[in-house]
């Protein structure tokens, strides 16, 4: 009887709490959204399943080595790459190897929209400060507004590892929900005429320009913000492999098996890091609220700045202000949202290529912002 008792004592049923149930349901919702709505499935499926795996109830710290937070467990070893900020740069490497920066190169002034949308980061940073978070935590929460999962994970791992799970989940959730969050804000801030503005077709970009971009981009952005080197260095390195024309083999590997492996491990462990016993706190909920606000501010920032730029542009060159919303990044979803809205107003208005420019520069923008925040806050002396 003793053996049976012990066995029962170890089962998940014996250790189940209401928090576990809540988290398991959240995991199921993530998987549902990924499969049914196809919201960011490549991330929501691993994260959702990770949430399930991280919330199977068990007796902690008796040497079973099951949980992500137990030293010696497999999940703990795989989580190492998240905790130490190793996975995000590798993901950026793969992203660089699959990104075509042509849209941005053909119309460089659109990069400013990617800068403007980063206002979400800094306003949220201040709001989090006001709510009593430490300055490091506030910075990590603010970066959710950058709408870049790897950047958010990287900065959190350096500044506020205790919030990493909540920040990562918030960032990816809202990135997945971009098609829900952005349209009302865009419509609120633009007139019908503005939404119907057609933009000039982008000009062709030469091979030499594409090859030079990763080098120029690396030198300029990391000279200004050296803290962004791990992220932007890898992003531009990946892009160099792609555009050099002589390293296709390496670019292919970076853009497929390497990024896939890292995505699987990152998604799974980030999901599993939401172990109910550690995750369901008031702080986590606050982070979710701040994250949502952050996304909205960023969207508004991009759109309003596009309207501001229009004041200075002559007639034929005016921007469709909706593409400013793509500056939040959340690549490529927000660009696609803009495109869809454009088609709704005028079925012959294809905004996707134009929206991609602020979209990818938003990535650079938030990585630069992360680097600056690290520069300010990681100071030891």
């Amino acid at each position: 009887m003793d053996g049976i008792n012990q066995f029962i004592h170890f089962t998940g049923f014996a250790n189940l709490t209401i928090e576990h149930v809540i988290m398991l349901c959240i995991g199921l919702v993530f998987i549902y959204l990924a499969i049914k709505k196809e919201y960011e499935p490549l991330l929501l499926v691993p994260i959702g399943f990770g949430i399930l795996m991280g919330n199977i109830p068990f007796v902690e710290n008796v040497g079973l080595q099951i949980g992500l937070y137990e030293e010696g467990s497999v999940l703990n070893y795989l989580y190492f790459g998240v905790m130490k900020g190793i996975y995000p740069p590798l993901i950026f490497l793969g992203i660089g190897a699959m990104t075509d920066f042509s849209a941005l190169l053909s119309n460089p002034k659109l990069m400013l929209l990617g800068a403007a949308a980063q206002i979400g980061i800094f306003l949220t940073f201040m709001a989090a400060l006001a709510l009593g978070f430490t300055i490091e935590q506030a910075a990590a929460i603010g970066i959710i507004g950058g709408a870049d999962g790897p950047t958010a994970i990287f900065l959190s791992s350096k500044l506020a590892p205790e919030l990493l799970g909540a920040i990562a989940i918030a960032a990816y959730s809202y990135m997945a929900l971009v098609p829900v969050i952005q349209p009302p804000i865009i419509k609120l801030l633009t007139s019908k005429e503005e939404r119907q503005i057609k933009m000039k077709p982008p000009r062709a970009v030469t091979k030499l320009e594409k090859m030079s971009f990763p080098i120029v981009g690396l030198l300029l952005t990391t000279f200004i913000s050296p803290g962004a080197l791990p992220l932007l260095g890898m992003l531009f390195f990946g892009n160099m492999l792609k555009e050099s024309g002589v390293t296709k083999r390496l670019a292919d590997t970076a853009a497929k098996p390497l990024i896939d492996i890292v995505t699987i491990l990152l998604g799974l462990t980030v999901g599993a890091s939401t172990q109910a016993t550690q995750f369901l706190t008031q702080e986590s909920i606050l982070i979710f609220v701040l994250g949502a606000i952050s996304f909205m501010i960023a969207t508004a920032g991009g759109v309003l700045f596009a309207k501001f730029m229009n004041l200075f542009l002559k007639k034929g060159d005016k921007l469709n202000p909706m593409i400013g919303a793509a500056g939040v990044s959340a690549v490529p979803d927000s660009a696609r949202v803009v495109h869809t809205l454009g088609l709704a107003e005028d079925p012959s208005n294809y905004l996707l290529m134009h929206a991609m420019a602020p979209n990818v520069s938003g990535v650079i923008g938030s990585a630069v912002a992360a680097g600056i925040l690290m520069g300010f806050l990681l100071k030891v002396f």
């Binding site: 800094f122 030079s212 630069v368 912002a369």
Partner: protein, 119 residues
């Protein structure tokens, strides 16, 4: 939950300063990048036009160096169909054929691992 909200926390922590400097720096870096790219492109086009001229072409105007409107429209249509998931068309229109280089023993490139050299 929001009862702790206290604006003085921001000032005490240099929050405003960091935010302003941070936002400005983000702007500056992307602005500088945009400017450099623009100048680089102008330099390139000048050079290219010189070349074209010296090869006897009529003075190539900027139109000739850009994607024409028709091409752009075709691309947009393709993308539209793509996103509308007209699958049959999609695969026809957007498939990029990749010829994978075979790694025969003679191009195995031990160490060097290099691709086949030109020349």
């Amino acid at each position: 939950m929001f009862d702790k909200f206290n604006i003085s926390n921001i000032v005490e922590n240099d929050g405003v300063l960091i935010s302003i400097v941070g936002y400005l720096v983000v702007f500056t870096s992307l602005l500088l990048l945009a400017i450099i790219i623009t100048y680089f492109q102008k330099a390139l086009q000048t050079q290219q036009r010189k070349k074209l001229k010296s090869l006897g072409h009529r003075a190539a105007d900027s139109e000739n160096l850009s994607i024409s409107g028709e091409v752009s429209a075709a691309i947009s249509t393709a993308l539209y169909l793509h996103f509308e998931e007209k699958h049959d068309l999609e695969n026809t229109v957007l498939t990029i054929k990749r010829v994978q280089r075979t790694y025969s023993p003679w191009s195995s490139k031990l160490y060097g691992l290099r691709e086949i050299p030109k020349r």
